[in-house]
Symmetry: C2
Subunit: 207 residues, 2 copies
DNA sequence: CCGGCTCGTAGACGACTGGTCTAATAATGA
DNA sequence: TCATTATTAGACCAGTCGTCTACGAGCCGG
């Protein structure tokens, strides 16, 4: 009983999370294949031999990394889209602006793992692809709910289906973030923000 | 003089191209870091030692790979967008439909290297990132010209700037292709195609 | 026709790192 | 004190990129 309750703060899970946190920063910079366990474990101050006490393999570790990432991301998304007294349209635009800002600065901590790893990992590991699919589907579903709420409160027009709009917007921002990695500036994300206004039927503002 | 003319068919360039063609298939599946020169050269039937007669390093090889890819892609794009007696809108939609079809089937030969490598390579090699930037910028510029032509022949409405629309569409399709790698089906690309209709101000068709 | 020359190629090799696992240590609890 | 568990050091081999020497095909002068 108490073991179940303390699952997240048990020493072994604390260590797991510590390794995952360290790895996220490194991997969001160098990718999955290009980073060795050595580098991660050394940075985390964990002996190499201990790795297989916490994770069954590098692939299982990758799964856990993505699961932890999406878990935190969805919490953050939920918080972002449930502020009292703010219209649905404003909540959504706040989310995209936050996306633009976190992906255009240079802090590796906030970089999106879906953008970084999707292409590399989907053809590499079926289990990691599956976590990625589950995570992104949940993000899109949450965005669709937010769009629906915006339609309900009158801040968004009814044009296409919320699911379709959410999917399109997510894909647009995925691609914009990818291109931002190429150009190394925020122009792709600014362009995506303008397009988001259009796709949501909002008056274009000076961003 | 004749050397310049024959540059593309000189034995050394034939060999280079043969290695590049072989590598493109493998790398578009497994990525850049995860593939060793061994595997590529073995598949190409080229001994390992000879590699450094054709390319200075793996990174230089990666540059050449991307250059060759974009060179071929831009030729293909040009051919796709310059068919006589077809309206600008139809040319563009033909291009997106072709994109959808090539990226949704399983043939690794036609897979987009920009989608596959952008995230991995941009943080790994400045020179490869630079080739990627140059290539994608050219694609977007060519798309912008096609949109401009569509406005000129009356098949497209004047709404936003051609450059902006081209950028948005390209990013949307980049992201849709990325998500298609995750979901392993064509739904992301079908959704992108519908959104493309909307963004171009065309009547939505049953795709 | 032949010997000596160059030059592109061949693939073994070096130094190193990868993920994985076993065997030994440290810590814990009875 | 001992049995059991938790932790870790280091060996392991396959694989990495890049180098280096040695082989052999082709040419040229005689």
């Amino acid at each position: 009983m108490s073991m179940l309750l303390n699952m997240k703060t048990s020493p072994i899970n604390e260590m797991r999370q510590h390794i995952l946190d360290t790895a996220q920063i490194i991997i969001s910079g160098k990718g999955f294949s290009a980073v060795g366990l050595n580098e991660i474990l050394q940075e985390a101050g964990v002996p190499k031999g201990s790795f297989y006490h916490y994770f069954g393999s590098k692939e299982a570790f990758g799964e856990a990394l993505l699961e932890a990432y999406f878990s935190a991301y969805l919490d953050q998304l939920e918080a972002c889209l449930t502020q009292p007294g703010v219209s649905g349209a404003e909540l959504l635009m706040g989310y995209w602006i936050k996306w633009r800002d976190t992906q255009s600065d240079c802090d590796p901590k906030g970089k999106c793992l879906a953008v970084k790893l999707a292409a590399e990992v989907s053809d590499l590991s079926e289990s990691m692809r599956s976590v990625l699919q589950c995570g992104t589907d949940q993000v899109i579903a949450r965005l669709a709910r937010a769009i629906e709420a915006g339609m309900a409160d009158g801040s968004l027009l009814h044009q296409n289906s919320p699911q379709d709009t959410a999917t399109t917007l997510y894909q647009l921002w995925l691609g914009a973030s990818l291109r931002a990695k190429i150009t190394r500036d925020r122009e792709p994300l600014d362009t995506a923000l303008r397009a988001t206004h259009v796709l949501l039927g909002l008056p274009s503002s000076t961003v």
